[in-house]
Subunit: 407 residues, 2 copies
Amino acid sequence: MPKLNWHCLTFLLPKGIKLAYMPNKVFVLGAGSTKYGKLNESVVELALDASKEAITSAGITPKEIQSGYISNVFGVSDKQVHMAPVIMSNLGIPYTPGLTIESACGSGSVMLREAYANVAAGFYDCVLAVGVEKITQVGTVQSTTLFSYCSDFFYEGGNGASFPGLFASIARAYLTRYKATEEDLAYVAVKNHENGMLNPKAHVRKIITIQDVMQSPVVASPLKLYDCCPFSDGASALILCSEEFAKKKGKSYVEIIGSGRGASPAAVQSREDITTIPSTVNAARQAYQMAKITPKDVDFAEVHDCFTIAEVIDTEDLGFFKKGEAAEAIRSGATKRNGEIPINPSGGLKSKGHPIGATGIGQVVEVFDQFTGKAGDRTIQDAEIAVTHNFGATGASAAVHVFKKVK
Amino acid sequence: MPKLNWHCLTFLLPKGIKLAYMPNKVFVLGAGSTKYGKLNESVVELALDASKEAITSAGITPKEIQSGYISNVFGVSDKQVHMAPVIMSNLGIPYTPGLTIESACGSGSVMLREAYANVAAGFYDCVLAVGVEKITQVGTVQSTTLFSYCSDFFYEGGNGASFPGLFASIARAYLTRYKATEEDLAYVAVKNHENGMLNPKAHVRKIITIQDVMQSPVVASPLKLYDCCPFSDGASALILCSEEFAKKKGKSYVEIIGSGRGASPAAVQSREDITTIPSTVNAARQAYQMAKITPKDVDFAEVHDCFTIAEVIDTEDLGFFKKGEAAEAIRSGATKRNGEIPINPSGGLKSKGHPIGATGIGQVVEVFDQFTGKAGDRTIQDAEIAVTHNFGATGASAAVHVFKKVK
């Protein structure tokens, strides 16, 4: 049963002082994830596997969960929407309420923000946040069609502009304006595959070369097959809680110190400049401001690399590189695990995979693993501040979160 | 851009006193709705029509909206998910973030609670809450199939137990245990059609008799065609805001004084007693407690009558009648517009219609219209406190809200 932590303080205050709020601190107490890939389990089984791992990781019992936040887009393709009651019932807590949040490929991070806000506001002390997607069973063509419903379908998907095409337009504009090359994009893919090889749960674990990328089949010029992330199944889950709750458990955890979200015009054609994504810029500004940090303080970031060009633009929009300079920085190794600002140590969407409802939560699982000594050979040394960035469609929606290691 | 109204008060407090919260008051400043029915507009057009009416009703401009909350279940069937950016862009506010919340047929009220919580916590001063569904184009058979994905599909829909069948089981159990009759159920349909005739936006505007209901084709015994609500398209929208924002606008509005949500075991077969819905009971308890009222204080209620049996059970679970006594009360006229506790003056799901993503918001539109003199001939005289109750599937999720007329 949700507990409302609202205690009136007026009796403590001098007359005439308006009562206001301070957010509760919010922590990630546990995290879990299925492997990402072409999986046999149902959407419900995947969500349960990740949830149970997160619950165990947090050292709690299901009964301590006061609310469930699910992120999912195409449950209909696995014949289960209204997923929260099914997940909660199967976790043995059928009277615990939940809901599903959808914001296309950004569902996970947008859901995280709602779960965060509810704990920050004192509605709940402990919640489950689980993202899940099960899509590979419908095949690549049908997946591409379904995903196109996440675009502004009247202007985009309905006229044949599916996401590879839309991101190809963005890539062409970027490469033209900033004199970057297709080979620069290939560096993103090669680096993320290197990282993904070290992630046992990654979908595509395969070392690739610049030549492999350049010679892979063209999907939508200038993007080739290895510029594109895979369609994946998978689920990732977190336990979020208040400070008091976290302290009682006496274990390692991670603090959410910043949260922001933003929006862009839905159709790419309506944007003033398609080499930047306004939703990312706005969400990052809010998150950094709340966290009281600048991009220079960030030790690593998980960003939304659905296509290689996206990672290039993301790293500029998040303030890690100046406009037009990311491609060269990436080529120089600045975003490798031992670089100036490691990007996507998990392997990113490109190698770890992209189960769209789970992706934004999976990024936080990586942060949790990095900050609690579970990232193995892909550990970023001495990292204390991390950022996750996840968007929907071509960035029509986005959310950015900042995390701090609790020592 | 969302404004975080969090002001630290620690400097005002004696040392050692833990800082806590009091919720902001939240108001319904405007409301709008499309007609419900078999409509030609797209899901986006419907959402826009309702949103624009709510914006006009509230006397605001779109730019004053800081966040959008959408409720929708089967956008995929009209080829548009990730609806918030499309709606916001078409309202001329493409940089205003939004998200979609899904909880089956309870999506609207579950979304309302999130929108409410965000304003109550001070995240936003003014938000748009719009529910929408566009489903009739796929036909009755495909709609029934899609809707069955909202059940616990592994146990229910997947074994042929679609919603008419599940509610028939519930009805049979109720009629057996409480000696109520099929004719008692028919009284619900007749009363809601009477009310719906007075609602220009209702889907099924047709006076029916007890005999009409009793002689209509059996859908799933004991439920007949006129025991079932229609499949509808439609959208309903609200503008929610803080007290300061409402006062600036200087117009009539409605206060949300209670909000609760609950859950039940997902599958009907897993419930201890199928003649009551635990999610309703728990949500109502929370909402009444927050509103500091008892069921006796309620002047009218909009409840979830997807099937006539549901209204019977709802009115008991909400505390208006003792267990097993609703059927007799309904037969006696207690729930008519001039009765002891008027139920569904709008016509309810049964006559007004049931566009599943919109229903929970549409109930609040009725409350707003009732409290601001827009309900015409269906006005409940001297009403000051109203309740809305909306659930998902067979009540696996539910939310209850309490509203107060601001004089």
